[in-house]
Amino acid sequence: MTTILLALITGCASEGVEEGEWLPGGETTNTLLLGGNAFLMPSQNLEPEDEQDFYSGNSFFNLSWVEAPASTDARDGLGPLFNARSCSGCHFRDGRGAPPDDGAAPLAGLLIRLSVDGPDGPEPDPIYGGQLQDLANPGVPVEAIPSITWTAIDERYPDGTPYRLTAPSYHLEQPGYGPLPAGLMISPRVAPQMIGLGLLEAIPEDRIAELSDPGDADDDGISGRIQRSGGVVGRFGWKGEAADVPHQVAGAFAGDMGLTSALVPADDCTDAQTACRDEPDGGVPEIDGDVFELVALYSRAVAPPVRRAADSEVVLLGKALFKDAGCALCHVPSHTTGASPLSALEDQLIWPYTDLLLHDMGEGLADGRPVGEASGREWKTPPLWGLGLIEDVSGHTRFLHDGRARSLEEAVLWHGGEARDSRDAFANLHADERRALLSFLEDL
């Protein structure tokens, strides 16, 4: 016992608060507003002109878009098919979306991607497109009425403590444009949070490459793979489908709100959906270049929040356990950013807890829908910064790609595939230690 104690004390220096750890976003970190407003703040080191643009971009992010033509012609063009009327409709207060507790439509905050098998691999459905839109302008049929039901999975920790996981099933009823095709692949995804996106964008590709290990050459059980989008590292979206912030923003405008931009000049209406195709548009493109730039800047510059108790004993213990369990092999704690279109985001030591790589997460979490380099079992490691504030910001504690986990604890327990060993290490901990690890996650 004494040897262990000694070993712990001497080895302990690495378990203290590390240099810069209090400020997960480096100099951008929001140290001013927490609680429900924790994800609203601009990066604190923005140049004054950029800060002005941030507030303007915030306006276009928050306010509703309306059907064209409208008096407010800078804000029209919504739909004809859409999932939400505004960015903040799903990314409310820049937080995360969640499935509705009753699983009933409309699924505000959760959307469903679609694909079918094609000659060269998965492709959008010829009629329903690449995403299911469950809202529409008057006179245009919605694509379907989606709903969710859950099945309970009751299990026990090795120490006998019971827990319950809830596995979702998705139902698409009343398809509006003919029967849904056999073999339709679906992928439900909640809206991710908006903090630190420009920082993630500025992590150098070399860094991501050096963390990848597709063949598990170092034999640590982890085989992170790079997603590619347009030839470049894909790093936004649940499977890393978008290479950079502008592509993510343009894709979301088009797919989620039916708003076209120069980068993505078509919405998700297919030629077969004539009711949709026949509706007036709000201009070509509907989002003009200046407005798009403002939303892109805004999306890059939302500040990650400060740590609240990085030096508390329980949190530090949790951090040590997190690393011991191997969680940090995919949830890589820190990086230094390189070049960015926003100078304020450059050369920052950041703590997002992600390697931005694709990992096989096991059968339980698989959506069976490959995208780019990602198989039907792979997901890109999401960042963990901000986890503890989701409850205040978004009013729920739902985690993972479709919000199936009703707590951080459940989220950990769902980890499978490459993460199975780490999940088991967590499950094998003493109850107080599990609590400590979760306290660490709650402080991020």
């Binding site: 220096a13 378990e15 209090w22 927490l34 507030y55 915030n58 306010l63 309306v66 008096s71 407010t72």
Partner: protein, 384 residues
């Protein structure tokens, strides 16, 4: 791992490096007048909502009169009542942004009261589509269905509230020189009426008016003396102070400066203004800032007591003075905007410079208020 207690001990011994670089270490002793300021604040909140409710009830009477006996005089009267009802309501916008009764995520009705922009087609005819909107459909028009049509967790709402009523009173603003010009005959139900579904339009108008008063009442109720929310708010003056300040900060920079002014300029769209049908947006700016000043100095109507500035003054008189001057400057610049606001933001207009000046002042205002935040050690942690 059975050695948890030893592990904890080891960590305590070895690992407690407080690397708080960049964060203030404040051990502020709160001024004695903090509680008085918070009690005065809650009194101001209650009074401002009470006035808003009263004005909404006057508005309702005018809307009923218009719907039941449409005439030019009745329409003018309803429009005047609408404009009057905005004056107190806009001064309540500073009470937003801390999940209080007006905007808590569970049942705060702010989106049902003041959402913008309005989806015109959704409600009534427009110049390009004479048959669109709930008014011209078979949808039931009653309080329950209108509310339901707006429901979509976290989403901005589009069919109720001040701006829906504004649209029904003025119609789209299709002119460069004045507001919307809806004829009173849109409400006339005999054959001399204009447009269609005049009876439904009248019903929509009065239903929306009733909803508005109901929502304002719901919020006002929670700020009356003895109400649960007010009691809890007053029981914790330091948090109350912080919330009052948070509302001032976010309204100054994000909302008025950013969403309403900067975005309007950037959109280069004439109608990108909150009260676009009535061309009343300049009052929105002025009264939003007035609300901030009310809270800062501690007065509204007949209430004149300890303001946030008096608390700040105890700790940093120079900072309090700087904020005094800055808010006064913002108010003065807001008053210098030349109505109609849509001409001020029109591309290339001389008004652009006036709007810019106001934006700059509001941003500076927000910066100063953040300094207050820091001086009081409110940065970093909020005890929720």
């Amino acid at each position: 791992m059975r050695y948890l207690p030893l592990l904890a001990l080891a960590l305590t011994l070895g690992c407690n490096s407080k690397d708080r670089s960049g964060l203030e270490d404040t051990a502020l002793s709160w001024p004695d007048n903090t509680e008085a300021a918070v009690l005065n604040y809650t009194a101001i909140v209650e009074a401002t909502y009470a006035d808003s409710l009263a004005a909404a009830e006057t508005l309702n009477a005018a809307l009923e009169a218009l719907a039941s006996a449409p005439s030019q005089a009745a329409l003018d009267d309803a429009r005047t009542s609408w404009l009057d009802s905005r004056e107190p309501y806009l001064q309540t916008e500073v009470f937003r942004f801390y999940d209080g009764p007006i905007d808590n995520p569970d049942d705060g009705p702010e989106g049902l009261i003041n959402a913008w922009p309005m989806d015109e087609h959704y409600v009534d005819y427009t110049i390009d589509d004479p048959a669109t909107g709930i008014v011209n459909s078979d949808e039931p028009i009653d309080a329950g269905s209108l509310e339901e049509l707006n429901e979509s967790g976290g989403e901005a709402n589009i069919a109720t509230g001040y701006h829906a009523i504004e649209f029904l009173l003025w119609g789209q603003d299709l002119s460069d020189t004045g507001p919307g010009d809806r004829p009173f005959t849109d409400y006339v139900t005999d054959s001399s009426g204009t447009a269609t579904n005049q009876d439904r339009r009248g019903l929509y108008l009065t239903t929306a008016g009733g909803l508005l008063a109901g929502h304002l009442s719901q919020v006002h109720e929670q700020w009356t003396p003895g109400a649960d929310y007010r009691t809890r708010f007053e029981a914790d003056p330091q948090t109350g102070f912080e919330k009052a300040l948070t509302g001032m900060i976010i309204l100054s920079g994000f909302e008025t400066g950013g969403e309403r002014l900067q975005a309007a300029l950037d959109s280069k769209s004439q109608e990108d203004e909150h009260s676009c049908f009535s061309d009343n947006t300049h009052r929105d700016m002025i009264q939003d800032i007035q609300g901030v000043q009310n809270v800062w100095v501690g007065s509204y109507g007949s209430i004149n007591g300890v303001g946030l500035r008096d608390v700040v003054s105890e700790v940093d008189a120079a900072l309090a003075g700087a904020v005094d001057d800055r808010i006064a400057e913002s108010l003065s610049l807001a008053n210098a905007l030349q109505p109609p606001f849509d001409q001020e933001i029109a591309a290339g207009s001389a008004g652009n410079a006036r709007v810019e000046a106001l934006i700059v002042s509001l941003r500076a205002q927000e910066e100063l208020l953040f300094e207050v935040f820091e001086v009081f050690g409110l940065a970093v942690t909020i005890p929720e």
